[in-house]
């Protein structure tokens, strides 16, 4: 226990997440040993790709502080997928589908950034509003119907598996996290994000372009949501207007579980990555045990509340 108590910050988070993950795995093994095969691993990673991309954007927005939060991510995932599919129907060359999907997401994120920065609205209320607008528009323009017609070559990418690992996970999720981790650790922009999250006032005083960084982060969160929408298209073969359901809750939980402080300035993307894998393993396990999917949202919600309370308690315990 002594070593565990000496662990600090990211190392402690990772150790705790690994322990939790092992508990989930052992529990699953005990309840249903047949679950474990390469197919399950592929499924878990496939589901993880979407949540990983969205969770990364969410984590970066929260990390930059200023009560930053992006509740619209789920709506942005749905709407960017729907925009891409509808523009395909309107005669867009299929080659441009990925670009349109990601750009649509970036535009939706930029709108959030504009509301938060330009109009100085509180992030949670601005993105709560856009959440209902984005997800509502996605449902309303389609009437709730899935939009089919994804080109075959995109399905090849989305459903491809290399050595048990889905191709989107290899080519999109991992590079995005690697880049984000590098940027946070080794570039001035990354240090700015931590600085403004830790103390925005002093960050402004030393000349960090706080507003510009924040705007870019909201746009980035949107672009990552667009990328997640693209993955859903390439994997499922159709644009579903409700694909982003509950992603705001799940991505928040992933970011908080991953050790990012809700006040910003503390945490890293490695933890978020581990937390995403943990969450998806848990969800897949519940699915395999034939537990109704409605239980997932409750368990994820309970995890979120638990993590936030545990964070407060551990702070009091340390001081």
């Amino acid at each position: 226990m002594r070593t565990l108590r000496n662990l600090q910050g990211p190392a402690l988070t990772l150790a705790l997440l690994c322990a939790l993950w092992l508990i989930v795995i052992v529990g699953l093994l005990a309840l249903k040993p047949s679950v474990f095969n390469l197919g399950t691993v592929t499924t878990i990673l496939q589901f993880s790709t979407i949540l990983a991309l969205v969770g990364l954007g969410q984590g970066m927005v929260i990390l930059a502080g200023g009560t930053g939060i992006d509740l619209s991510v789920g709506g942005a995932v749905s709407l960017s997928a729907i925009i891409a599919m509808l523009s395909l129907k309107l005669g867009l060359p299929p080659v441009l589908l990925p670009a349109v999907c990601i750009l649509a997401g970036a535009a939706l994120g930029a709108l959030n950034g504009l509301l938060v920065n330009g109009l100085a609205l509180l992030p949670f209320i601005a993105t709560l509003g856009t959440f209902f607008v984005y997800s509502g528009v996605a449902l309303a323009v389609t009437g709730g119907a899935a939009q089919s017609g994804v080109p075959g070559w995109l399905l090849l990418w989305g459903r491809g598996v290399v050595a048990g690992i889905p191709v989107p996970f290899l080519t999109l999720a991992i590079p995005c996290f690697a880049l984000a981790g590098l940027a946070l650790m080794a570039t001035a922009w990354g240090r700015w994000i931590y600085a403004m999250g830790f103390n925005e006032r002093s960050a402004r005083l030393v000349g960090i372009p706080v507003d510009r960084v924040r705007f870019i982060l909201y746009a980035l969160s949107g672009a990552l949501a667009g990328a997640a929408g693209l993955v859903s298209l390439a994997w499922l073969g159709s644009g579903r207007p409700n694909i982003g359901q509950n992603l705001e809750l799940e991505s928040l939980t992933a970011a908080m579980l991953g050790g990012i402080a809700i006040t910003g300035g503390r945490g890293g993307v490695g933890g978020v990555f581990a937390a995403v894998l943990l969450l998806v393993t848990l969800k897949t396990g519940l699915l395999q045990l034939n537990i109704n999917t409605v239980w997932q949202v409750g368990i994820v919600g309970a995890l979120l509340v638990f993590v936030l309370l545990a964070d407060r308690l551990s702070q009091r315990w340390r001081s």
Partner: protein
């Protein structure tokens, strides 16, 4: 203290925001009356008022929460859970008077849970209540088991569909609730404390205001009001479906923001909330009648929220007009 002085309009004196809301309501009614022949009927007016009952009560609690710088996005599902409790009692032919107590009681209990997480656990209200929203949604599913609670006996309905001195019971209850909260805001320290916390929690704490007690109490009040709303819901519809209350939180937030209560805290208007609820319901009902699919409703509400806040932000930044300077 200027923020406190201008807080909470009087019952009879209306400020500019409230006048413009009233005009907006009348304008919307006029436009919809021209656009749809089914709009300007007594039956439809009753429908709009009927649909506003729950939102008026939930919105009252949300007004206090937002004025305090808080929020509760789980409030709609809290109404669902309270409605399930009431429905079970009514469904088992229990006394309707027990059912009357059950709603506020469940609401208060869940308000305590929310307050324990958000206030005692010092968790940002939006994140804490979002987590609880997930938990409550699963609870609704688990309690209903995937089936509607329907065909409830009319014992509760008979009790609440009556009139007292010619005034319908719901209208009476709403009037009493608003008057009580208005008195609490204007005539007791609670109101001053609430608005001070909304202005700056840190300064409120430093000046000796019992911040934790006031915040806890406000979440419980909001829960009780939501429990009352659930009672009227069950009495009217006599069923509880899986999706109960899924848009109530957004509707309530939109109505309160429309009404001029500041989300940054420190300013609240009860009359504004009433007019905000009415305007929202008039718009939703009217759009439905002129043939806009109901799927667009959350879009309209979301645009209203962002639009009003954006308009306020822009107009605050513009230089004062000569008229405003003269008044300032």
């Amino acid at each position: 203290m200027s923020a406190v002085r201008q807080s909470g309009s009087g019952v009879f004196s209306m400020n500019g925001r409230e006048w413009s809301l009233l005009v907006a309501c009348l304008l919307a009614i006029a436009i919809f009356s021209v656009a749809s022949p089914h709009y300007a009927t007594p039956g439809n007016a009753v429908t709009v008022l009927r649909n506003s009952v729950e939102l008026l009560l939930i919105g009252l609690g949300m007004t206090l929460l937002l004025a305090m710088g808080g929020i509760d996005v789980s409030i709609g599902i809290v109404m669902g859970l309270a409605a399930i409790a009431i429905g079970r009692i009514v469904g088992a032919d229990g006394s309707p008077f027990v059912a009357l107590v059950a709603g506020p009681l469940v609401g208060a209990l869940l308000g305590c849970v929310t307050a324990a997480v958000v206030v005692l656990g010092r968790v940002p209200a939006i994140v804490g209540t979002l987590g609880l929203l997930g938990v409550y949604r699963t609870a609704v599913f688990a309690l209903l088991g995937g089936q509607w609670l329907s065909g409830l006996p009319s014992s509760l309905t008979d009790l609440l569909a009556t009139t007292v001195l010619g005034i319908p019971v719901p209208a009476l209850v709403i009037a009493v609730a608003y008057l009580t909260v208005w008195l609490a805001l204007r005539r007791t320290p609670y109101g001053l404390h609430l608005l001070a916390i909304g202005n700056s929690e840190e300064k409120a704490r430093l000046s000796g205001i019992p911040v934790i007690k006031v915040r806890f109490l406000t979440f419980v009040i909001s829960g009780v009001l939501t429990g009352i709303a659930a009672t009227f819901y069950v009495a009217t519809y006599r069923n509880v479906e899986m999706s109960i209350g899924s848009t109530s939180a957004l509707d309530a937030i939109a109505a309160v923001i429309l009404g001029g209560t500041s989300i940054l805290g420190g300013r609240c208007s009860l009359l504004g909330t009433v007019l905000g609820v009415l305007l929202l319901r008039i718009l939703q009902n009217g759009l439905l009648l002129i043939g806009v699919p109901s799927l667009w409703q959350p879009v309209v509400t979301g645009v209203l929220v962002i639009g009003v806040l954006g308009f306020e932000a822009v107009s605050n930044r513009l230089p004062l007009t000569r008229f405003q300077r003269a008044r300032a």
